[in-house]
């Protein structure tokens, strides 16, 4: 049996192998996660609700099934967390907001149901920026999650709890959502892997929407392989999600060990190298990664794309319009129930004209065409996830708009798969990262390129030092 204090270091595949070999039980794995959360999450606030009873029941069921030879796939018996915008039947789902503080859904979101059907063990619900947009904020029912590498720094958002929980070793995988970078930003700041799949590949049904045409559901995990194994469980066509793509489910782990020999990688260096606030450490780490892929046999060439600011403006106008449509009535009737920052961001959609939105949609088509043009010649595009290490909480003035130093919005606009992977650490010991963008529905190539870099850099074994002794403040179910 593995020592319970080191169980968090087991990958999903490693834990799964031990579960199937009978050298580890899901109950032991789950108890180790719950103990770690209880001991350490008080300093991080990554969970808003710990579902210990449900987790132990899920684990006991998994142990019995595996003992009986029933194998439900790679997440069977594996603990995970859900961002608190994913509906969970009978379990409070708050969107981290006063407006939904008593909301208990009757049905699971599709992703929650697929993880449950796949034998996963739900540890609880994770902190988010309010309605996946307003944060970091201190005027909400729950405190904001903190960065495990340094509590004075933000973990990114809006999947803030998901990034923090995975980086802290509370679970190997947590689900996030990404409308302008809310999976890849926290992954970048917390030093984990975050995959925003192709638009429509993973069902959004039962996940509280922020922006219908920009929302994506995807995993944050310790490693590329953990992400790939999760995708195998959560991917399926959903006829009740209007955006759901009716495409065959890829074999996500195929190619993880193939390397990158012969792969063609494009680098739009102008996106990030000349951007305001771009950290020399981020740029150097991307350059090193590009050299690494080249040494491994890939062709790496510099290309140009339309200006980043155009992608960003296009996405933010669409996001503002769609989010406002969702929140219009509450913004008109109970504005003070939103946190100051959420309110300041959400009302913007009320000031847009119909022409503003249609002009953004016309630009969106042009930007999609431009990226597709590049990806006809290359297998992937590499660019920055974030322009800097995680900012400090003190960098933000509560209630005022946040200029996130992330460059993730372009691929919400275009819908292409994009994954943030760690590239190293800053001189202050905070994670650095880049993102890999692939052709629509070519997640296996994105994962393959990420896995090659991950192996070459060997960063997955480094863990943050956490402060014990601050008991978890998360509620228990």
């Amino acid at each position: 049996m593995a020592a319970s204090s080191s169980l968090h270091t087991l990958s999903i595949a490693e834990a799964g192998a031990k579960l199937r070999a009978g050298t580890l039980t899901s109950t032991a794995l789950t108890r180790a996660s719950l103990d770690r959360i209880a001991a350490l999450d008080g300093g991080l606030d990554s969970f808003v609700l710990v579902t210990a009873e449900r987790a132990l029941a899920d684990a006991a069921a998994a142990d019995a099934e595996l003992k009986a030879g029933i194998d439900k796939g790679p997440m069977h018996g594996i603990p995970y967390g859900l961002k608190d915008i994913y509906d969970t039947a009978g379990i409070r789902t708050t969107c981290h907001s006063k407006l939904r503080i008593d909301n208990v859904p009757q049905a699971d979101s599709v992703v929650a149901a697929r993880l449950k059907d796949g034998g996963g063990v739900l540890l609880g619900k994770l902190a988010t920026h309010e309605f996946a947009i307003g944060g970091p904020s201190f005027d909400l029912p729950f405190p904001p999650a903190r960065n495990p590498w340094n509590r004075d720094h933000i973990p990114g958002g809006s999947s803030s709890g998901s990034g923090a929980a995975v980086a802290a070793g509370f679970c190997r995988m947590a689900m996030g959502s990404d409308t302008g970078g809310s999976i890849r930003g926290p992954a970048a700041y917390c030093g984990v892997v975050g995959l925003k799949p192709t638009y429509g590949l993973v069902s959004r049904r039962g996940v509280f929407p922020l922006s219908y045409t920009l929302d994506h559901c995807g995993p944050l995990a310790r490693t590329v392989e953990d992400c790939a194994l999760t995708m195998q469980v959560i991917t399926a066509h959903d006829p009740q999600d209007p955006a759901s793509a009716d495409v065959p489910t890829p074999e996500f782990t195929r190619g993880l060990d193939w390397g990158v020999h012969g792969v063609k990688i494009a680098v739009p260096r102008h996106f990030y190298a000349k951007a305001e606030g771009a950290s020399p450490e981020i740029i150097a780490a991307i350059d090193t990664a590009a050299q690494t892929w080249a040494k491994l046999g890939a062709t790496v060439e510099e290309i140009t794309l339309p200006d980043y600011d155009l992608f960003n403006a296009c996405g933010r106008i669409i996001l503002n319009a769609e989010a406002y449509a969702i929140h219009e009535q509450d913004l008109q009737t109970r504005p003070l129930d939103y946190a100051r920052m959420t309110h300041a961001r959400l009302v913007m959609g009320g000031f847009l004209s119909a022409a503003d939105l249609v002009q953004a949609l016309r630009l969106r088509r042009e930007l999609v065409d431009a990226l597709n043009g590049v990806l006809r010649r290359y297998d992937a595009v590499i660019t920055a996830s974030s322009l800097s290490q995680a900012p400090r909480f003190s960098d933000y003035r509560d209630g005022y708009p946040v200029a996130w130093p992330v460059q993730t919005m372009p691929f919400n606009v275009t819908g292409h798969p994009a994954m943030s992977v760690p590239t190293g650490f800053s001189s202050e010991g905070l994670p650095l990262s880049l993102q890999i963008v692939g052709r629509p529905f070519d997640e296996p190539m994105v994962l393959r390129i990420g896995a090659a870099l991950e192996r070459a850099l060997g960063l997955a074994e480094r863990w943050p030092e956490l402060e014990p002794g601050v008991a978890s403040r998360a509620a228990a179910s």
Binding site: L310, L331, Q332, A344, V347, L361, R362, R364, V368
Partner: protein, 68 residues
């Protein structure tokens, strides 16, 4: 090149836009919202900088498929 509007002009513009949208902006939140509003105006101008002819269609144009 047109003169950029003053902060007072923008405040009046924001208040009028909020009234039209049926939104009440609490006084203590007004300054922060004005900052976002300035950024929104910058973005709506930016997406119009590139000339487009009438044939450039939006991304949400769809094609119908006969029921099989």
């Amino acid at each position: 090149m047109p003169t950029p509007p003053s902060d007072d002009d923008l405040k009046q513009e924001l208040d009028a836009a909020a009234k039209k949208a049926g939104l009440t902006i609490p006084p203590e939140r007004h300054d922060a919202i004005l900052v976002s509003y300035k950024d929104l105006r910058r973005m709506t101008a930016l997406i119009r900088q590139q000339p487009r002819n009438a044939a450039v269609e939006p991304s949400n144009i769809y094609s119908l498929v006969p029921r099989r």
